[in-house]
């Protein structure tokens, strides 16, 4: 087999590419994965105690809730969200969510950066500091 | 089979490299477009479709024209085309690929492309266009590949391929019909609002596609040992001839209806294209050249001695290709948007960046075409040798 060298070189390249995340993190140091950031609450958010749903639910499902809000507000024109406990909220990211959680950097961005998600909400919707 | 594409002459590799460079440059400009938005093009709120969609329309025609080889061979047992149906099918593959790329580069939010599938909307012609184009791509890859494989092994193609081949014939007609329906079903656009648009699209497609095929067979003959044969080329030339005549005929019907009826909505667009309007006349020389090229081509193709002469035939085919390209790739889309629904004239001229991205897409298509044809000619040479 005179192709031995080629095959070995090919395999090496293949595994290098395959294992990219591991060696990249070994050499350049992984982002600190041990401490997940804790979203900070504003005083107003603390005072309110509950969000539009329970905290655990909000943590895992807020994107689904927002997705549902935007669909129902935009397409059905129903702008009021009646929570499970019967409380009514305006279904609005800028006017309801960001009213309490006015600290976008500490509340939204810290987790989003940690999990490296980049929601494009802010391409169109405003947040408090921005419009100040 | 694909291994045939890995062995080639220096010219072959230089050609591929050149195409890759064009693709890379086009892609860089596409990244720029992704970042900035479609504002880097010459489009506006009045001419909201431009060069990209026009190329898409033209290439759907080139893709559909494969049927001009498939139909005579499989339905009429016209054996002369047997050798080259796969050439037509692979041209269809690369053309449909370019069509899809042109749609994607034309989207404002390409990341949301799959919304067309997540929220299927059968009342939108674009939804159907997606289905017919993908289906046609699939059919031609499967058919072309299997038939070629069978030819290589000296066996008859698989049985299940036959129904697919028969299906591909009406399917080819459907892709261009649906593409015409994108335009001719829109109420406020007098230039497109005509039942003859789909037939006219098909006529110009069956002119442009086979003309390009003739040129391709000459190129293939120059670089490889594969010759499509004189008779096949001559039959194609006759197809081109009558298709151009049909195209011109449909166009003249169009002109008659618009001009004789004197309905401004229908007349204005032709007026803009051929004479200019309110001082805007960027397309006037192009449109007249297009007509002249097609008429000259008809004359060259209809005279037997000129058609049989390879040099004049090559010229005729180039004329047809350029003539129909201007007609569809430049005039058809702009012409429908100018004047706008408020009867204002805002002209469209593609930007340099738009043209570079367009060239990038064309280079991608040519790259795919080259590789596919390399496989075909490699196998044909192997069989002959």
């Amino acid at each position: 087999m005179n192709d031995k060298n080629k095959i070995i070189a090919g395999l090496v390249i293949f595994f290098l590419v395959l294992l990219f995340p591991f060696w990249f993190n070994l050499i350049f140091g992984a982002a600190d994965a041990s401490t997940a950031p804790e979203p900070k609450l504003t005083d107003k958010a603390k005072e309110a105690e509950t969000c539009v749903a329970e905290t655990d639910h909000m943590r895992t499902e807020h994107m689904q809730i927002l997705d549902q809000w935007r669909d129902i507000v935009v397409r059905d024109g129903k702008r009021v969200y009646v929570a499970e406990n019967g409380k009514e909220y305006e279904a609005s990211l800028s006017n309801t969510c960001m009213d309490c959680h006015s600290n976008k950097e500490e509340f939204c961005d810290s987790c989003h950066n940690y999990t490296s998600v980049d929601p494009y909400c802010w391409d169109c919707h405003t947040y408090p500091e921005e419009t100040k | 089979m694909l291994e045939k594409a890995l062995k080639g002459s220096k010219t072959y590799w230089i050609w591929l490299l050149a195409l890759a460079v064009v693709i890379a440059i086009g892609f860089l400009f596409y990244l720029r477009q992704l970042d900035f938005g479609l504002g880097i093009t010459g489009m506006s709120r009045d001419v909201s479709w431009g060069f990209y969609i026009a190329q898409f329309t033209f290439l759907v025609g080139v893709a559909a024209s494969a049927v001009m080889l498939v139909l005579p061979y499989y339905l009429h047992d016209y054996k002369t085309f047997g050798k080259i149906t796969v050439i037509g099918e692979f041209l269809a593959v690369s053309s449909v690929l370019m069509c899809m790329l042109f749609i994607i580069v034309d989207l404002g939010q390409p990341m949301r492309l799959l919304n067309v599938i997540f929220y299927p909307t059968p009342n939108s012609m674009l939804f159907w266009d997606m289905i017919v184009l993908n289906g046609y791509l699939f059919l031609n890859i499967v058919i072309g590949w299997n038939v070629l494989d069978a030819e290589r092994n000296g066996t008859a193609p698989e049985k299940w391929i036959k129904p697919l081949i028969y299906l591909s014939i009406p399917w080819a007609v459907s892709i261009h019909t649906v593409t015409a329906f994108l335009y001719c079903g829109l109420p406020g656009r007098g230039f497109w609002l005509t039942a003859v648009l789909a037939p006219r699209f098909l006529a110009s497609a069956f002119a442009a596609g086979p003309a390009f095929l003739i040129l391709l067979t000459f190129i293939i003959r120059k670089f490889t040992k594969f010759d499509a044969g004189k008779q096949a080329v001559q039959t194609l030339a006759k197809i081109v001839c009558y298709a151009v005549i049909a195209n011109l005929f449909f166009f003249l019907c169009e002109v008659f209806v618009a001009i004789y009826s004197q309905i401004p909505e229908h007349m204005a667009h032709l007026q803009y294209l051929f004479f200019g309007m309110h001082g805007h006349d960027a397309l006037v020389p192009w449109m007249w050249s297009s007509m002249a090229l097609m008429v000259v081509a008809v004359i060259l193709l209809i005279i037997p001695s000129a058609r049989r002469n390879e040099t004049t035939l090559i010229f005729a085919c180039i004329f047809v290709f350029i003539g129909t390209w201007i007609d569809k790739g430049l005039g058809m889309i702009s012409g429908g948007f100018v004047p706008n629904p408020l009867h204002e004239v805002n002209e469209y001229i593609p930007s340099i960046q738009e043209i570079i991205i367009t060239l990038g897409v064309y280079a991608t298509g040519l790259l795919v075409l080259t590789i596919l044809y390399k496989v075909v000619t490699g196998i044909k040479e192997e069989l002959a040798g």
Binding site: - | G37, Q109, N115
Partner: protein
């Protein structure tokens, strides 16, 4: 060898199909949230606000006799500033990127094909405001491949779902009134004073007049109507007692390009 390859290809093909179908189902799932949302046991639900105005088919009558150039300017300004409509011409001098929801033009442009000969100079150049007609049979909705533009069944307003629009601009080709604009670039740099109560758009989506759906939801009249000084009358075309219907009963009003069968909800008294 041949056999195993074939078997592999078959399995691979089937699994690809399976994955494809699976992801399609997952993709389709969010669309069915409505069924799972309100209605299922004591879960959250959605409703209209208390002040929301209700109508079966919103419509507008524009009395061009009462309109002055200055009123039209005011209407354009009110609409465009409330809705964060960017000013690409003023800011970057880019006519091609222009976005407008409502604007004044001349009769011959608003009603091409219905030009009136021998009109006095004054009337010929009198301003005629044009905007989305919120057609009862909208060609743009028919053309949209993703239902990103849709006619709201409850009140007939033709709306845009900016989250869903893929920017194919089929709706712009389909609209016979030139009412739609495209975001050829990020609109934000071209917005003078951003209104925080209304979102901006992002590059690559189509936008147009929304009949102030967001204002109707809180009991306010459309912005242009509010500043029109009585030249624009807004109301429910399905309600025979509404102001618009009363006006339409007493005056000859025309619509733009009625021959196209779009049934505009905007009427003009000329």
């Amino acid at each position: 060898m041949e056999n195993s390859r074939r078997r592999f290809l078959k399995t691979a093909g089937v699994s690809i199909l399976g994955v494809g179908a699976g992801s399609m189902l997952i993709g389709l799932a969010p669309g069915s949230t409505k069924a799972a949302g309100p209605g299922t046991k004591a879960g959250p639900s959605y409703t209209h606000g208390p002040e929301a105005m209700k109508g079966g088919r919103w419509g507008m009558v524009i009395d061009t006799r009462k309109l002055k150039d200055s009123t039209c300017r005011k209407m354009e300004k009110a609409c465009h500033s409330i809705h964060n409509v960017p000013d690409h011409i003023g800011k970057f001098d880019k006519k091609n990127h222009e976005i407008k929801w409502i604007w004044a033009t001349e009769f011959k442009h608003a009603f091409p094909g219905q030009e009136v000969e021998f009109l006095s100079e004054k009337l010929e150049h009198a301003p005629v405001p044009v905007l989305c007609n919120h057609c009862d049979n909208p060609p743009c909705v028919r053309a949209c491949p993703t239902k990103a533009t849709f006619k709201r069944e409850s009140d007939g307003i033709v709306l845009m779902d900016f989250h869903r629009c893929i920017g194919c601009r089929f709706c712009m080709a389909a609209c016979p009134y030139g009412a739609r604009s495209f975001n050829f670039r990020d609109p934000r740099p071209a917005i003078e004073n951003e209104n925080p109560d209304f979102p901006t758009r992002m590059k690559g989506v189509v936008e147009k007049c929304n009949f102030c759906a967001e204002r109707l939801a809180v009991g306010k009249m459309p912005a242009c109507v509010e500043v029109s000084g009585g030249a624009l009358i807004f109301g429910d075309l399905n309600d025979p007692e509404s102001d618009v219907r009363k006006l339409l009963a007493d005056e000859y009003a025309i619509r733009r390009k009625p021959n196209l069968g779009t049934f505009p909800s905007v009427f003009y008294i000329v």
